[in-house]
Amino acid sequence: MTALARAQPDRVPWMENDFEEGLQVRIMGTRDYTPGDLCRRLGMDAFGYHYPSGGAAVAGQLLQSKEDMKSQYYYPTRITFDFVPPWIAEMGTDSDTGRTYIKKGLLVSEEALSLFDTFLPDPHHPARYERVQGWIAKYKEDFAVFARIRFGVASAIESMGLETISYAIYDNPGLVKCVVERFASWSAAVVEHLNQMDFDFYWVNDDIADNHGPWFSPQVFREFFLPYMRQVARVMKKPWIYHSDGNLMPLMEDLLTLGMAGVHPIQPAAMEIGEVKRQYGHRVCLVGNIDLDYILTRASPEEVEANVRDTIRVAGPGGGYIISSANSLTDYCQVKNVLAFSRAVAKYGRYPLVGHEAGDDGQVSEYRGER
């Protein structure tokens, strides 16, 4: 939490937005462990994703019949800290991995708006809050616990489909705003309840960009999405991290008006973390940047160590940096590389960082070599 407040803690914290259960189990060698056990095994500082707890791992969000989905939402059978709205979309399941995916968004017209009433759970239903609060009390120990939520932008994009929402921005702007507002209102109602629980922070997952840049112009972003994101941000009473893949630089000034404490994942293929630190490190905590395309999936453990070391040296000075993968720890990360990641964070992440002194202005100084 010190790092999120852009101060310098005793060491660079490590946490992950998601950590797929298959990888968890391969690392732990068993399905019988607590969130704290996993954090201790790797030296992580926070948790907020799914754990097996005896249930079958199913990645992603699944929209089944309205009864099944709402029941699953109100009474989750495996440990979770998520409070995200369902995709209002036709879903598929990959037969090999069990991973779910969106086939087609269903919110394609005014008539389809009735699907909100059909499929969106009641944000005031007490069951999920009670169950999750029980898990927080049981598993928190000394770790930070986060709730994953959405503003509603990603929900709107996926539930309408990128093609439909793109045309609608020009053909039927009212429909787009209605859809985004419905999801945002749902999330805002959820947050009012989460504020009363023992979460330490929120992680808001709302993808709006890819490696090239934002999917929408700043003008479209300000008209169609930002006001509704602000609707949710305004009611958050705990610190929060904003997650979107891709290059966010063209929208960063607008995004920062929302008041996030941290930005994630600073994908190395899309954003250069040194430049982000220089421009925005005094305004927001940086979270992420350990590459998923190669480092955690195909590199050698030695390369992982070097990458972690170099990233800490660039982003860590002065604090305000939380190390994390540049998206999540997925099933296709190599166990040996995740363990190398863990060892490297322990080796290089203690303040004062070797070879660096953070200036009083928190500016990154160049690595000058070990003293």
Partner: protein, 212 residues
């Protein structure tokens, strides 16, 4: 403003009805269909692509321009009463086996349709044998493959090898794209080209079928 410039502006602005009307006027005025398509319309898409690369146009602007283009191209098809220009080529496109991402692939498919290609979209998680099956059936000019993961992009090589084993490799051009894919990787696996984004994919596709 002359007709060519007006049509270009209408396509860039995504004014589908206006673009169609201007296309009709051009054809009625005797402008050859090939010129309308290859110079006027592709000129508009080139401009949209440049704006996209400069960060001045974004996905919605690409899509409404492609939609306006597609709307106008209908007039040049024989069934639209046109002179029979516009069929550029057939493309089979898909996200490779093991990969469930489709945003980029969908964008490429839409842009290719807008540019006059007939596109068969195989969806996501497409195994090499499915690509081979459809190539045998449809005899496309192009195969397009997308991947978002460094683990799954290796299936692009598998698909090309499957086409080789089936004796189909020389009958199609293969283009690849996706976040982890590079021009070097494309060359290593024996693809005919790599496109960095949806607009570049259209340029590449046109070049590979010999019209660009």
């Amino acid at each position: 403003m002359d007709l060519a410039a007006e049509l270009k502006e209408a396509i860039i602005a995504g004014s589908a009805d206006r673009a169609r009307e201007l296309t009709r006027k051009a054809l009625e005025a005797g402008v050859p269909g090939e010129e309308v398509v290859n110079d006027w319309m592709m000129g508009a898409m080139n401009e949209v692509g440049k704006r996209f690369e400069r960060g001045e146009a974004f996905i919605p602007e690409l899509l409404i321009a492609a939609r306006a283009l597609r709307h106008s191209l209908e007039l040049l098809r024989p069934e639209g009463g046109g002179p029979g220009v516009t069929f550029v080529g057939r493309v089979v496109i898909g996200t490779v086996k093991g990969d469930l991402h489709d945003i980029g692939k969908n964008l490429v498919a839409m842009m290719l349709q807008g540019a006059g290609f007939i596109v068969t979209d195989l969806g996501i998680d497409v195994p090499p044998e499915k690509f081979v099956e459809v190539v045998k059936e449809q005899q496309p000019h192009l195969v397009g493959m997308s991947a978002l993961l460094t683990t799954t992009m290796l299936n692009m090589r598998s698909t090309i090898e499957a086409l080789e084993r089936s004796g189909l490799r020389d009958a199609v051009k293969v283009m690849v794209g996706g976040a982890p894919v590079t021009d070097q990787f494309a060359r290593e696996i024996g693809a005919d080209g790599y496109a960095e984004n949806a607009f570049a994919a259209v340029s590449l596709a046109r070049r590979l079928v010999g019209v660009g």
